[in-house]
């Protein structure tokens, strides 16, 4: 297969790194070469976060070039615009339908974006949206929001549900696994693709 490039972006604390971990594990379990690269450190304190996963027969660079992400998964609406330059011309976009106000706006240092809906529509006419927060609430834990997104994302990858679940079991503690798998299935059912 051609190497697939996935960029996952959002805000520190949203569970992006765990999601990309599970995606990478899924690809590895499927027998593919995989590279998962992330930047953390300063980003832990509520800053922008990015993690990139590449998989295929043979993967060299861990970094995805600007304009070369086949899939852009944004865990937050504003961040989807911030990372627009990552997306390939025919790439797919999955957006978690949630707004997180940056402190620069809530504290009045910088103006808010007032036309976010219009800008998103303009940039991503074919984007898939998922209300992962509400769906996570419906399975009983908002902290599983990332696995709802993972479920939706799984529809856009070539891997079976069984492999995804195996990767989740290898990565998530036993006492939380059932709830997380439920969140994953809810997310998977929520997008039509």
């Amino acid at each position: 297969m051609k190497t697939m490039n996935v960029s996952l972006v959002g805000v520190g604390g949203q569970g992006i790194l765990l999601t990309s971990d599970i995606l990478a594990k899924t690809a590895a379990l499927a027998g593919l070469d995989v590279k998962k690269s992330e930047i953390h450190g300063m980003a832990q304190r509520g800053g922008s976060v990015i993690s990139q996963v590449r998989f295929g027969e043979k993967v060299y660079s861990p970094i995805i070039r600007d304009g070369a992400s086949d899939l852009l998964v944004s865990f937050e609406r504003l961040e989807a615009l911030r990372w627009r330059h990552l997306l390939a011309p025919n790439g797919r976009v999955l957006i978690n339908d949630i707004n997180m106000t940056p402190i620069t706006v809530s504290s009045g240092q910088q103006p808010a974006v007032t036309d976010l809906d219009a800008r998103l529509k303009n940039e991503y006419p074919g984007a898939l949206y998922i209300d992962a927060m509400s769906l996570a609430k419906s399975v009983g834990n908002t902290r599983a929001m990332n696995m709802v997104v993972a479920g939706a994302l799984s529809k856009l990858t070539p891997f079976s549900v069984e492999v995804w679940e195996q990767a989740m079991r290898e990565r998530i503690p036993v006492k939380l696994i059932d709830m997380n798998i439920k969140a994953f299935e809810t997310g998977r059912a929520a997008v039509n693709y």
């Binding site: 590279k35 998962k36 060299y60 660079s61 970094i63 615009l81």
Partner: protein, 591 residues
């Protein structure tokens, strides 16, 4: 049967240390190297591992273990290596007994560092061996080889990682029946001519160090970690580290000399490669470490205008290089949509125990020399409460230097508990000894926060979670001879202001310990919730000055000029600071 695991290079180093029979590991946390020891701790039954108080001590512990004949490992970020250079420089004269492997994790592009420096220069300077893995598999294989090389040639062996290798996970074949390797500890023989490099013994050791350099050069020419990959000979590319991956992607058709072992540089192999291609191009991350040496061999290297010797390397930069050199690619236009977007910088957490101290220091108009940790974020608006940050422990010496230079006003050094233990203590003693009058504030949250909550001598636990003695910073200051040592609750703004004002204005040196747990480490992020009563809020903006991410602009005031405040119940962790700033009693605890 061989086992394949998805590992970051940091994890791969830990797995390899276990397999190689390493029995002692010591490190101080620092991004991007921190996860190395955290993963070594998973093999704690086989490897005696610890958080050292700083990198110099970590290096000394590892050297001690090496002298005793054990295989030992130490790990640090690039700036940590600066701290550890002193013992290293002499140990390369003494020569390793048990294998000594040093991991230096560089941070090209400064994702979480105050500078980007190319550790390879320091490794060459110290005459140590150097491996540069391009992915986690190589990190794993090279650590195992490094222990062997270190023993065979009696040199400390370095593994240079970068943020991009440290934090990239790739598939690693960890071999058959993975488990702790059993390596007999080499005998330690008392030998003062070797282990005590007083001048008369150091001179002959200097010559031996030179012989080792020559032996390493021979090794470099033979090791399979340095290999020629055949390709179009019109251009031959010499590369190393993760940069190799970008070269394979952007210049896939050309011949490549892929170097995994770069100190000493394999001169014969480089000459052979250069002779086999029309033109030689050197591509590496940060300094022209290899390029300068290739030129020194008399080999012409392709010149180019594309800047590659600073900031992080990536495939796009090599695309630009290819466009310049070969003109056969277009750097694609990339559509951006981030114009005018508000930034999302890192901030002190809602409820962080550092916030009240910076709020108060700003109010008191102090000149604040800062240090390395989460609290460096106190420099940013709206707190604006820090003037300088140089390196670990520098805050105290910097404030004292300002005093010595004749600066007037309230001079204050601020540093965290872990930084205090790392290298703040010596600076503090210097203030007392030399008659300084500055105030030193230690933000005592009993954890190493910025790197992800590692234990330290103040936290009562070791790397492996075992109980440890708790060192009281106030008692340390008193034992040094400080007369003015005050401990204050970091969440009590009135007392903080009174104490800080008193100490800053005192005509004697003083130490203030502002105590309050890291709310993430102490699991207090959900400890309570506060609410603003909009009817009582006068939109005075006092609580906004805290810069708390939970305090947002709420409704407009009646005059339509200012915003009332509103507290995001999800982010609020119930620290109470905002209630204390409100003169109108508009903020109350609801949970």
């Amino acid at each position: 049967m061989s086992q394949k695991v998805l590992l970051s290079a940091n994890e791969a180093v830990a797995w390899a240390a276990c397999k190689a029979g390493c029995t002692v590991a010591s490190a101080y946390p620092g991004t991007p190297s921190t996860e190395i020891l955290e993963n070594v701790a998973k093999f704690k039954d086989a490897i005696n591992c610890e958080w050292a108080v700083n990198e110099k001590v970590a290096m000394e512990v590892a050297i001690g273990a090496s002298i005793a004949g054990a295989r030992a490992l130490t790990a640090m970020k690039h700036v940590g290596l600066n701290v550890a250079m002193d013992p290293l420089m002499t140990y390369t004269y003494v020569g390793a007994n048990g294998g000594l492997v040093v991991i230096s994790a560089d941070d090209p592009g400064m994702h979480s560092s105050q500078n980007e420096q190319d550790s390879r220069n320091l490794v060459k300077f110290a005459r140590a061996a150097l491996f540069e893995p391009a992915d986690s598999q190589e990190a794993f294989d090279m650590v195992i080889a490094a222990f062997e090389i270190s023993e065979k040639y009696q040199v400390p062996a370095f593994i240079r990682l970068t943020t991009r290798t440290s934090h990239t996970s790739t598939v690693v074949d960890v071999g058959d029946d993975f488990g702790p390797g059993k390596v007999e500890r080499k005998p330690y023989v008392k030998e003062i001519k070797r282990y005590i490099p007083v001048p008369m013994f150091a001179r002959p050791q200097r010559l031996k160090a030179q012989d080792r350099t020559a032996a390493l050069r021979a090794f470099a020419n033979e090791t399979p970690f340095n290999r020629i990959e055949a390709g179009d000979r019109r251009l031959g590319i010499i590369t190393a580290s993760v940069t190799y991956q970008y070269v394979k992607e952007v210049f896939p058709e050309f011949a490549v000399l892929k170097l995994g072992f770069t100190n000493s540089l394999p001169a014969e192999l480089v000459k052979k490669f250069a002779a086999s291609v029309d033109r030689v191009l050197v591509i590496e991350e940060l300094d022209p470490f290899m390029e300068d040496q290739v030129r020194a061999l008399g080999i012409p290297v392709v010149e180019h205008a594309t800047e590659l010797n600073m900031l992080e390397m990536n495939p796009a930069r090599l695309m630009a290089l290819r466009k310049e050199l070969l003109g056969d690619v277009d750097v694609p236009e990339v559509r951006r949509a981030d114009a005018g977007l508000p930034t999302r910088p890192p901030v002190l957490c809602a409820g962080c125990s550092h916030r009240g101290v910076f709020y108060t220091l700003a109010k008191l108009g102090a000149t604040v020399t800062g240090d390395i940790g989460c609290y460096t974020l106190g420099a940013f608006p709206p707190l604006n409460a820090m003037d300088t940050t140089i390196c670990m422990g520098a805050s105290i010496g910097n404030a004292f230097g300002m005093e010595k230079a004749g600066m007037k006003g309230r001079l204050c050094a601020v540093l965290g508990d872990s930084t205090f233990f790392h290298s703040g203590m010596t600076g503090l003693l210097n203030v007392l000894y030399n008659g300084g009058k500055i105030t030193t504030v230690v933000l005592d949250n009993r954890i190493t926060g910025m790197t992800g909550h590692q234990q330290n001598p103040g936290s009562g636990k070791t790397l492996c979670g075992e109980p440890a003695p708790v060192t009281d910073i106030g008692e340390v200051a008193k034992a040094m001879g400080f007369k003015r040592v005050v401990r204050v609750d970091a969440y009590d703004l009135a007392t903080l202001e009174r104490v800080l004002k008193e100490e800053l204005d005192a005509d004697e040196p003083s130490v203030v310990i502002a105590g309050g747990p890291c709310r993430i480490a102490a699991k207090l992020m959900n400890a309570g919730t506060y609410e603003v009563d909009a009817a009582k809020c006068k939109a005075c903006g006092a609580c906004f000055k805290l810069g708390c991410p939970a305090i947002e602009r709420g409704e407009m005031s009646a005059d339509g000029k200012r915003f009332k405040s509103h507290i995001d119940p999800v982010q609020c962790s119930g620290c109470d600071l905002c209630r204390q700033t409100c003169k109108f009693d508009a903020i109350k605890k609801i949970r």
